[in-house]
Symmetry: C2
């Protein structure tokens, strides 16, 4: 294997695939990145037990300045390759010999890195491209961003550590819940497709990072029995799926509300943020909300530190005019951060029932936060 590539481009490409590579794994070869030089392109592969990321650099990409002299492949430790390329001054000239030792030349600097045989690197799962659909990249990013934060942080119910992506006809929904809160978002898609997948939250967070660095406007999604693949022109992320049945979340959403209030979303977020400062003492970051005299009082108390309270005006109020409830301040903040609009609706069905949080102008994005005990 032998090729020349521009330093900065190569460094970025390595960063894209190496983000999932762990330095600590029982399989030393998985600390590596696989470099495969084909006739007309260079492929970089990085993986962990949940995700495989593959980046293809075509020889026609002028920015990359890729020139392949000899095809072949080798695996080298991700960490050292990344740090080394960053520190090298000029174009990168790479050559691998039959002993898997890789020579890297840049200006007057000669480096060699010990490698692994590429044949020992785990093979990618195989897919039939025809089973997939195509989505706008911006839409997919929105669907993931507005739900993934609500996945469960602990493994006791593995299905809850994933986002439930459900395709049914021309509808696509994402749901995430840790059983104390829920984020649910639904959208229409152009083509009909059926399938239901629980995708690990960690995979989707990696996908968000990758898509943020792509200019491409479309993402293709393919599925197999145990994998889901997200693919743009130059990059592919293949994620393991979580087995099991996802709970029916639509049944959790209260149908009727006793009180609905409309507030300035950013101002409310800031108020909750301030109240959280005094809420850490409580197991559930208790923040107290009280509707009274046409305003919302936000407060929290810590016996050791002190207390805070503020009153925010309501833009609208319908239903019962008095109510008090204790909520987890961090969950409330996550929910408000995910809302892009200026105004937010909070619907209460009583102090022991979950609160519904919605942007004013959309019926398809619903969040729930359950109350916490205040003693």
């Amino acid at each position: 294997m032998e090729f020349i590539i521009k330093n900065e481009y190569f460094h970025k490409a390595i960063a894209e695939v190496s983000s999932v590579v762990s330095a600590k794994t029982p399989f030393p070869i998985l600390t590596g990145i696989k470099l495969t030089a084909g006739e007309n392109h260079l492929t970089l592969t990085g993986s962990n037990t949940d995700i495989v990321i593959e980046k293809v650099i075509p020889a026609t990409d002028e920015e990359a300045g890729l020139k392949i002299a000899e095809t072949g492949s080798v695996v080298v430790t991700s960490r050292y390759l990344t740090e080394l390329i960053k520190k090298l001054p000029g174009d990168i000239h790479i050559k691998a010999d039959e002993k898997y030792s890789m020579t890297i030349m840049s200006d007057e600097i000669l480096t060699s890195l010990n490698g692994f045989p590429a044949e020992e690197y785990p093979a990618l799962p195989e897919f039939e491209d025809s089973q997939g659909i195509e989505l706008s990249s911006a839409k997919l990013i929105e669907m993931i961003k507005q739900t993934v934060f609500a996945v469960s942080k602990n493994d006791t119910r593995p299905a809850l550590t994933g986002v439930h992506m459900n395709f049914y006809g021309k509808s696509f929904s994402c749901a995430a819940t840790d059983s104390h809160r829920l984020a649910f978002l639904e959208t229409g898609i152009r083509y009909s497709f059926n399938g239901s997948f629980i995708v690990p939250g960690s995979s989707l967070k990696e996908l968000l990072k990758l898509l943020a660095h792509q200019d491409e406007s479309k993402v293709q999604i393919f599925s197999s029995e145990s994998y889901l693949v997200f693919k743009t022109k130059s990059i592919m992320l293949c994620s393991r799926l979580i087995e099991g049945k996802y709970p029916d979340v639509t049944g959790l959403i209260p149908k009727e509300a006793k009180t609905v209030i409309k507030l300035d979303a950013k101002k409310l977020l800031k108020g909750i943020d301030r109240a959280c400062l005094f809420a850490h003492e409580w197991k559930n970051n208790n923040v107290f909300l009280e509707i009274k005299e046409g305003a919302l009082k936000i407060s929290s108390v810590s016996s050791a530190i002190g207390k805070i309270e503020e009153t925010q005006p309501l833009i609208e109020l319908t239903g019962e005019r008095e109510l008090s409830i204790s909520l987890d301040g961090n969950f409330l903040m996550d929910a408000l951060k995910a809302i892009q609009e200026d105004h937010v609706l909070l619907s209460f069905s009583g102090s022991m029932r979950p609160v519904i949080i919605k942007p004013v102008s959309s019926e398809s994005y619903i969040q729930l936060v359950s109350p916490v005990r205040s003693y």
Copy 2:
């Protein structure tokens, strides 16, 4: 105590004194900042066992917008005060009652923080201002920056964890060594002053941070038996001194050199940085330097990872034309980073003797790095 102050200014002032305050100390009152409202100024004090920092905000400072309604003082936990002020939207109105509870008002937000009685806060050591001298702030920063990195990281010889500041007549020198390397810098001062102090490296690092945020061009230095005080118009840092005798470092500097080379300082630093990537396997980050055929070869080898080598041209060479030596790459990097000039001189007296590292145009700044075993 009662006063009003502008949010942003107050937040910055708190940050200046709170940098030394630890959240974990056996004395709860030391997790706090002391606020003292006098007739015409507000004083903030933060401290740990080594350092006291005091910031004075005069009521005449328009930027601060300070208005004192009632004098008095109170101590409140630094961490919560810092976080709270950052999150408050408007001017800060503070009031403390006789139970040491502090009320903070900002727009519609009402907060109270539990405090401590100011009388229980440790008193500052007392000084006679007349014993001091005045230095240019830029000069003091330079003296500290170019030596403090070389202090010892471990406590087995406490004197070596400090910088030796020595005033003798109109000369001022700073020396730091961990017994493997040395940084020594000498300068002339305007007024005659005699005194010799071992100042903890950690105190001087705090002083650098403080001075970086000051516009003032002069620093006054006062001493007492066991403290040294650095004072500008608005801020004061008082550091404990390390007791004991500092070793005579000038005797360590080799008088004659077998080989002297002149190199591009930045290029050499980059080369050493690259070589360090493969040097971590060695206890002393071994980087090999070899002078041969009028050039400098820099290399390092790791049996597990690989190897790197590069050759850099010499701008000048005097003395013996061949030499090889192993040095701690990290020490070399620290030494080169401290040199501001384009060119650097390296003087060798043999492969088992320390290397002298000097900027080309100055005789008063000398660094030593001892060789390491290469097997």
